[in-house]
């Protein structure tokens, strides 16, 4: 899996490509921790862009859950956007779409999240 970080204004956008499974979950968790800790300043919001995420396993869901909880504690808005059908399915079945905000695409997400 490939993880890229972009910042739009102060908002951190994390772009995922590939498969988020047991093998890649731990590395992604560390990267997300760094993003939430903020480089220089803590971001007001973190958007996880899943447009190129092909697969997510339960280990991957766990990382999202841990990050969502950490973000809530730190008062950082945390959301996902641009889910593929396969990933959407997993989030729906596991009930995660109930507790994590999901936007249709990055544009909508960036328009909705707090900017600073």
């Amino acid at each position: 899996m490939n993880v890229r970080l972009e910042t739009v204004g102060k908002v951190a956008v994390v772009i995922l490509e590939g498969r988020l499974d047991f093998a890649t979950a731990e590395g992604f968790q560390k990267q997300l921790e760094l993003v939430l800790a903020g480089i220089g300043s803590v971001p007001p919001a973190v958007v996880i862009d899943c447009a190129a995420l092909q697969y997510i396993s339960s280990a991957g869901l766990r990382v999202l859950l841990v990050a969502a909880k950490a973000a809530q504690r730190a008062r950082i808005a945390f959301c996902l956007c641009s889910l593929t059908a396969a990933v959407r399915d997993v989030l729906d079945v596991s009930g995660f779409s109930r507790i994590v905000t999901v936007y249709a695409d990055r544009g909508v997400a960036l328009a909705q999240v707090p900017q600073g």
């Binding site: 047991f22 396993s57 339960s58 280990a59 859950l65 729906d92 079945v93 596991s94 009930g95």
Partner: protein
């Protein structure tokens, strides 16, 4: 091979034997020989200093020169022996130690005992100090190699023990799953669990509940390894303990979730499908905490997923609430419960088994024991995956309702 060794071969053999005894770290005389060489190096370097002093008595010079012959003889012997012992002779000769050993004796052979006209060259003998260094270096390397070998062996032993313990834990994990479904006239069920190579967290369970109901569980803990296995044991124990005291599946999952959220330092979670079957009436009540919805196959061959999916997984949020859904089973109905290890079994081209293949197998199995459908699905998944390793646990359970 000739049975009788020729004299040259015999000599060669003896020479190698001698080299082994003197040079190899475990050789019989290695320590003594090493001390002899180091002693001679120190002595010879000291004697070079003494020789250089003014007004050294003639008798002492004579003694030192005789000693020098002995020293060079021993060093030359050692040098030749090392060449004999070296598996790659040229590599030894051009190695640091090989060059130093040669330089330590070269001045003697080049200029003899008394070439005063090349006095400066005699100072080359001071290079013997380097020889001292190679000896200590060699000693240190041998020591480190031995230490490393010991540590390696200890590590291998520890690894083997760890693997044995994990294998044992996995065996126990499977052994605690119920072997059979409670014996009731109107229904029949079977289940299986095929663990992946690491310790996983899939499990199923059958429980006899007060009032003649039977509880069925199909569950999958997030992640792999020992933490997942522990969380599986915690989840299963809590479910088993709470189930007999809960009037419906939704309440049971509510309470189990509350308890799990207080015992979850690693933020693990478990997806659970839990149902209670009234074995007198065929009424199936169920609740779903983030688990793949089971499939219902009607006697007419139609297959559909049970609704009511989408509840949050257990262990994530303490205030999650779960609804109870009901389904009246009809004679010949089958319910197929499974974990995502089935639908997400990948083949060598990274294609997933998927729900369509599973539905096709369920549809095609018309009549027969519940265990027969389990075997059929297992075989189908195995055929599909081919050589690809099983990356996730696979758990399957089939419930058949005959008649009340």
């Amino acid at each position: 091979m000739s049975a009788v060794l020729r004299p040259l071969q015999l000599f060669n053999l003896r020479l190698h034997h001698l080299a082994e005894q003197l040079l190899e770290p475990q050789g019989r005389y290695a320590a003594g020989f090493e001390n002899l060489i180091v002693g001679l190096i120190v002595f010879s370097v000291a004697s070079i200093g003494v020789e250089a002093m003014p007004q050294v008595p003639q008798w002492l010079l004579t003694v030192l020169r005789v000693a020098e012959v002995v020293v060079v003889a021993v060093f030359s012997f050692e040098y030749l022996l090392r060449i004999v012992a070296a598996p790659k002779k040229l590599a030894f000769i051009v190695s640091f130690q090989g060059v130093v050993d040669l330089l330590a004796i070269a001045p003697f052979f080049l200029i003899g005992l008394d070439a005063r006209w090349l006095r400066a060259l005699r100072l080359l003998r001071l290079l013997r100090l380097l020889k001292l260094q190679t000896h200590f270096l060699e000693h240190t390397v041998a020591e480190r190699t031995r230490e490393l070998a010991q540590k390696n062996a200890a590590l291998l032993a520890a690894q083997a023990q760890l693997k044995a313990e994990i294998d044992l834990a996995r065996a126990m994990q499977i052994a605690i799953l119920p072997a059979g479904f409670p014996d009731r006239p109107g229904c029949e069920a079977a289940a299986c669990m095929i663990p992946a190579t690491t310790m996983g967290g899939d499990f199923y369970d059958f429980m006899e509940l007060p009032g003649g109901e039977i509880g069925l569980v199909m569950a999958d803990v997030s992640g792999h390894g020992v933490p997942a296995a522990f969380f599986m044991a915690v989840a299963r124990t809590n479910l088993r303990e709470l189930a007999p005291h809960c009037p419906d599946p939704g309440t049971c999952l509510n309470r189990t979730n509350e308890v799990l959220c207080t015992q979850n330092p690693m933020d693990l979670f478990v997806t659970v499908f839990y149902c209670m079957l009234n074995t007198h009436t065929g009424l199936l009540r169920y609740a779903n905490a983030g688990h793949n919805p089971p499939y219902l196959r009607r006697a007419d061959g139609s297959v559909h997923a049970l609704d009511g999916a989408g509840g949050l997984v257990l262990g994530a949020m303490a205030d999650s609430r779960f609804e109870t859904h009901s389904l009246q089973l009809l004679p010949g109905d089958r319910v197929v419960l499974f974990t995502d290890g089935v639908t997400e079994a990948f083949n060598s081209t990274d294609e997933a088994y998927g729900v369509e293949r599973l539905i096709a197998e369920v549809k095609a199995y018309d009549s027969g024991a519940a265990s027969g459908l389990i075997d059929r699905i297992r075989n189908s998944v195995t055929r599909f995956a081919g050589d690809a390793p099983q990356s996730d646990d696979i758990a399957l359970s089939v419930l058949t309702w005959r008649d009340s």
